[in-house]
Amino acid sequence: MTGRPRLSAWLLERWLPPEDRDEIVGDLDEQFAERLHRDGARRARRWYRAQARDLVWRYRQRPVLHPAPEGRTAMLLDDLRHASRQFRSRPAAPLLVAAMLAAAIGLCTGTFAVVDSLLLERAPFHEVERLRAVAVRRIFGQDNPELDRLIGAWRTAGIFEAVEAAGAAPPETPTTGVGGSAALVTPGLFDMLGVRPIRGRGFTDEDTRAGDTEPVVISERLWREAFGADPATLGSVVTLGGRECRLIGVMPADFRFPDRDTVIWRPLSLDARPFPFAVGRPAYARLPRGIPESEVMARAAAIAGAADPRFTARPNELAFSPIGGIVDANAARALPLFGGGVALIFLALCANASGILLSRMTVRRRELGLRLSLGASRWRLLRESTIEHAIVAAAGIAAGIGIARAVTSVAPRLMSDGFDLAQSLNPIDVDPRALALAASLGAFAVLIAGVLPAWVGTRVNPADAIRPSDRTHTESRPARAIARTLLVAQVAFAAMLVLGAALLVRSFGRMATADRGMDPRDVHTINAFMSSVAPAVLDDVDARLRAIPGIEAAAVAGGAPPEGNNDFSGTWRTDLVSGIEVESELYDIRSDYFGFFGLTLLRGRHVQPGDGRDVAIVSERVAAMLWPDADPLGKVMTMEDGPFSARVIGVARDIALPSLLDGVDLPEIYIPHTGRRKVLSASWKCRARCPDRSEIVTAIRTADARAEVVGRVSSAEERYAAHLVRPRVAAELGATFAAAGFLTSGAGLFAALTYAVGRRRREFGIRTALGATPAVLRRSVTREALAVAAAGVAIGAVGGWTLQRGLSSVTYGVSGLDPTAWLAMMLVVTLTMLAASWRPSRQAARANPVELLRDE
């Protein structure tokens, strides 16, 4: 067609849908030809351009105007195109929402994976519910029998389906060079656990009688790293940590037993002399089917008593515990709380994401109204909105999976000290069920908040929505109510997190600054089992320690504070009371002990050379329990269920070991070191130059050639610090959660207020024109923020009440109603809300009526 405007023709070709194009352009061209003839080229072209403009403009809204594409796939593609256009035009909000969803899902699922591995899941062994660690308590004041005698007796009696020994190999054993530890196991252990080697074989009784080259089984991880998984190494002699051994089998990489980091297993015979494990270390057993556990336990105890008369002294000395899972009560209490903190963050993030989506409601309503008026069906708009937000949710979930993976890989490194992650025998993997739950909850929140504007928006009369100047500049009542509820919820979650963090930080502070009752500075200790602890030997060790360069003072004793590691529990009788159970720490001391450790004797006298085993010094707590409101000096204390009786010669101040663990901070009983126990704790003070372990070992061995020095050198500061690790990690995590919580809620409030002030610009302008001062306007916005803060704090306080009761089991020396913590929570929340409202309130105060009138 000649003469028609080229650009218009091109635009029509470009924008009209192919199936309609011929008909429409044909009609247009037909009329153009007629007009060309009738009105002349110029007017005809002008007419053509106007018609093309109208067509192109309307058909550019193709998803609306174009007839619904046929077939589901075409429809879906069309909706996806629409969604991508939406993202490109306004990327900030969807990105922010996806990021928040990702953080929520990632943190929640990652944390669940960690908690699951530690707490919920049992070790991955065959019929693990029938496996038990059977621990026999150490016996006070005597050499403990070796475990092999008990295992032998139990095997002979046949009370367990199987019973085996396993434990970390002595530290002198050369291991791997690639990390991981070695363990000694009896040949039947792998079969009892129901785990088979993936290559080669497990141990047989033959292996325990092997000649020069010891047979070993290693983990697949070690096999890959050290030998490149070379099959030729199986059955041949290899060198592990400088020691030759014969590699007979490879265990699966995720097999962890008895410790999480075990990678080498060496065979152990029950006939081995000396047997490496004494009572106090657990044996491992499989319970027989059909017999109650209590019955098995009773029989096991009876057999133990028959095997060794020392066991009959005390009843209930056997403890059966399931294998794997969490090890101590503190972690068991702390981890659910930790999970609760994460859940709060999850809820706060979801509420924030929903808030952002809802705040777009007014903008979207106008757009939706426009499209409704152009003929889009309501169903169509809802579907588009659903798809759009499903994409946002999918992006959030995908990123969330990445974050969860990162959390599970970083967690073991970050928290191994604090939460005994090393104890779990399970791999830490993202749990698909937890991921599915978090993802569906998060996606649900996003979809509801995302589609709600479309739902509400498409109910309005399109004519209202497309009015050029919409006079209702504030939100509809339900929209405002929903937005405000979400904000209040965020603030409440944040308030709970801040309260929890404040309590944890206060608890940590209390622990770190608590009065210890001793002077732990520069004190180092190592322990040894001696063949003799005669005064001459102890004097010799003492003199040799002092002779080592760098050592300023030394003390030898049985047990060193703050943890004596000699649990002395019993039922006592005195002249005032009887049948009093006291769990205490027993120290065998010499005369220099109190001076060396900076302990305080409150009354009475110190231990002197020549004192026998019939005198004792007790700490204040012991005194208060056994002689309530009376002076214990000169009185006699007698153990009703053990061979101990002593006259009190002194009362000492308590040594405090602030700890979250039960049974750690025990009261003290000091007795003269008379050789009752052949244990030695060698302690010394050194500052600039501290001796190596080997120097100390040499000194002890020179004094007693048969002495066995165990473990490493530890400092008293270090042992105090060990108990601070968990509270510190807890306080740090709590503070991080709280910071995330109130940043989220602060940002949420800031966004909501900024947006609301923007919408109410007109109202503020009119109020200014009517004489309102900037201060009045500022106050009205600040009041709104404070109302949200007050409601949030009130609801948060109710939640906080429940929270602090849970926290009381994992805090030290802080009441759940600690006024400082509660005040800090209210202050932090209120200040955050005020800070968030500062800029919006100034914006409101700057409203200029003249500018607004110009807008009209």
């Binding site: 037909e30 018609q51 067509l55 309307r58 105007l65 007839p67 003929g375």
Partner: protein
């Protein structure tokens, strides 16, 4: 089920098709509407209304042969279906019921 009501443009298009009788295409429909109403109706609105009416089953269409006069492009011929005719009658009745006895009042109010 209440029948979906007709929009203004849809109403005009249906009446135009009725007037034009039998089959008709875009140009005569546009001209008929502007001649009868005395104003230009947006071309796009008419095409969109036609497509929607077809979706609702109130009109049907078929493609004609390409002609040189239209740059080799075919016409699309529309005709009223029975349902369309019934809808039109129903719409007219609704209008009449609404207007019954108030023409005079309307004229008076407009004065």
């Amino acid at each position: 089920m209440p029948r979906e009501s007709l929009g203004d443009v849809e109403h005009f298009v249906l009446v135009a098709l009725l007037r034009l009788g039998g089959e008709s295409y875009g140009v005569p429909i546009l001209e008929e509407i502007s001649a009868r109403t005395g104003r230009e109706v947006a071309r796009s609105a008419v095409y969109i209304a036609l497509r929607r009416l077809e979706d609702k089953g109130l009109v049907r269409s078929r493609m004609g042969e390409p002609t040189a006069a239209r740059g080799g492009r075919p016409k699309r011929f529309f005709s009223l279906t029975k349902a369309g005719a019934r809808q039109l009658v129903a719409a007219r009745r609704a209008y009449e019921r609404m207007w019954a006895d108030v023409s005079r009042l309307a004229a008076k109010a407009a004065r």
